[in-house]
Symmetry: C2
Amino acid sequence: MTKNIHKILFFLFLFQPLLAQKKNHEQQINEIFNLALTQGKSYDWLDYLSNQIGGRLSGSLNAERAVKWGEEALQSLDLDRVYLEDVMVPKWVRGNFEYASIITGPGMSINVPVCSLGGSIATPAAGLRAQVVEVKDFEELEALGEENIKGKFVFYNRAMPANLINTFDAYSKTVDQRSSGAAKAARLGAVGVIVRSMNLRLDDFPHTGNMRYGDLPNKMRIPAAAISTNGAQLLSSMLSLNKELYFYLKQDCKNFPDVPSHNVIGEIRGSEFPDEIIVVGGHLDSWDLGDGAHDDGAGIVQSMEVLHLFKKMNYQPKRTIRVVLYMNEENGLRGGTTYAKNAKQKGENHLFALESDSGGFTPRGFSFEARPEQFKKIESWKPYFESYLVDRFALGGSGADIGPLRNGSTVLSGLLPDSQRYFDFHHAANDTFDAINKRELELGAAAMTSLIYLVDQMGL
Amino acid sequence: MTKNIHKILFFLFLFQPLLAQKKNHEQQINEIFNLALTQGKSYDWLDYLSNQIGGRLSGSLNAERAVKWGEEALQSLDLDRVYLEDVMVPKWVRGNFEYASIITGPGMSINVPVCSLGGSIATPAAGLRAQVVEVKDFEELEALGEENIKGKFVFYNRAMPANLINTFDAYSKTVDQRSSGAAKAARLGAVGVIVRSMNLRLDDFPHTGNMRYGDLPNKMRIPAAAISTNGAQLLSSMLSLNKELYFYLKQDCKNFPDVPSHNVIGEIRGSEFPDEIIVVGGHLDSWDLGDGAHDDGAGIVQSMEVLHLFKKMNYQPKRTIRVVLYMNEENGLRGGTTYAKNAKQKGENHLFALESDSGGFTPRGFSFEARPEQFKKIESWKPYFESYLVDRFALGGSGADIGPLRNGSTVLSGLLPDSQRYFDFHHAANDTFDAINKRELELGAAAMTSLIYLVDQMGL
């Protein structure tokens, strides 16, 4: 018995420094969560960004207002450095109207909620009136061929599959309709495309998003619009009764030459390894229909909160912690590519980059792009996240803005919030501040801060 | 090499039946989730229960409408048996008005949102006007003593602590103000109590809930009302400037003698062990301010969905699966106690009881009241729930309605949804159908059905 006690005491002695360190990390993370939930700034920041600035599409004056706000907010945190990085961004404007109706007979029509897809051209000034061919996918489109498509609207109506647990998987199985549906249909002589909104819920909000014509010659390009899920159900149901009905679409969106904009960057310089950079960020631009509260106002304020909480705790990081508010994720990714290009040119060493761009919902874990030995080290930190219910660590895609930093050694990571509600709001007019729950937002910020704290303490 | 292959083949042969069974369970659970998310009835049921029936406080005519609806909905499922169980329930009615204001000077007053607490008596017909003493807890109250309390309102203003991750923990740390605050204050001569709503969010909804006078003599009883969190902040801030201000409260709620009501019960009889009963349920009654969509319409329709999905799959359970829509959880628990008493009298053998009464949010796992060897068996099923992200299994409290079944051998369990938003809606006028996300509700129902499927297949 005595012998065993000696053994135990010996091991306690041996592991004491390790245990003390573990306890210290636990305490720091506990303080991070406490502060985020009681003295955090993320919710108030997001209130301002959503309600006082609002939608901030790249190239718009509101995007520049957001840049100015971001710069001033970071300056208020007493960081070691706050600066803007020049980025040329595409400029597409929605114009003054977008309007559509289903024409069921002479003088008989029903309005349906539509919005222009980002990057689309306008209809002729008088609008477009044509019959409709409904398809579920490109295979069906190709099978129908030019003889059935020419002169008509193509109506892409493949719904996001409801039975997938992760709604981002359902999105990736349907978004091709939106991104390349117009280019495919144009080659078969279609006059325009109507795309079912990427939304799992049946409601009246059309959801915009980017589309590309690719190498389609200018004169072949056709207008593309999204229709709300309820509108898509209505149109499909009417087509099943009358395949000869007409659809009318009028929109005056327009593409302009690129204009200058900025990434907004702030950093706390590392005390021991200032040349090892840890990036945390989201994208400052948003679509123009709502206020971009979830996409990606949430990610912006959570990223800023990481540095705010470190300051609040008087935590002096060993490595350089840099927040990047990326411009132009939605329709160009110019902020992300420019940042990575400049970083490479300057020979900067990025240890880790974390993005939040999946909505401000309850965080459930993180995804990682990492080498096996890196991921093994990160996985050993899971116990620190258990009591906060943020301990799902998985290999997988991280974030669009940090993607250009991918080089095989920098570890990339994405916050994984609960995904069930995200596409109810994504790119639509209801992505507003009232769709944000304060605690869910703050828990995400706390989880991000905790992960970055551990990377800073332990390296990778 | 060849030897190793033989070894592997031998083990494969040995474990094939087990592996096949595991695969079969995986497929069944996959089908459960698929059906719940694509052909479930829970969301439409909840739409009807919330929007066509609405608030259904025990003893009200709406509660009886809910009983009738529940009975008819269960009858439509072609179960082996649907019946009502008689329950006597308390009857408390809110009356025609509840009104309060802060009187800051002669002729100067500000309205604040209040609601009567369930079980409270009315104020005198002309209302109550008195000065206010703000306290955080009973210790502070007792320290102030009769000399400072007599003739005044006691204002309980201890906020739910924001730094706890599980909001139910924050609730249990503050709900004593609501449940026994009036009785404690009355003994010190207070004329009434105003209680800060159990809500983590700052908003304008007063949250009702049950209160008890205990053994306080009738003539000593005083009225109790909840004030919205914004109202509480306002009152506290005004009191800090002027301790002499007056508060005015007028309410005409009333207690009546008990009235008859019912639990609604339906069952599929087990094919192998019909005497082993598995119960799934929630509570059919709700508070009267909102529509009881989360509390506990969600639990009701999820419980009904379990039997609907089994029918849809043509699954014939080995054991008897019984759904119980309990009456009167909110202000008496008479449904739960009556059910357990009758079950005991009939000598029924309850193997397992599962309750959903924590809101229709994304499910994250289950709590269990079980003996160690029972919990060990249940824990071995966790892998079945991993890909649905519902694999947090923990020992802990289950549900109020099934609590009376506790006997040391019946395993009790509660669905654990994400808790962050629950108290935004709990017992308030905004607990309505629009606060429900279809997928989150359905995922809960699917998780419950899967757990009950496994208990039915494997026993406990």
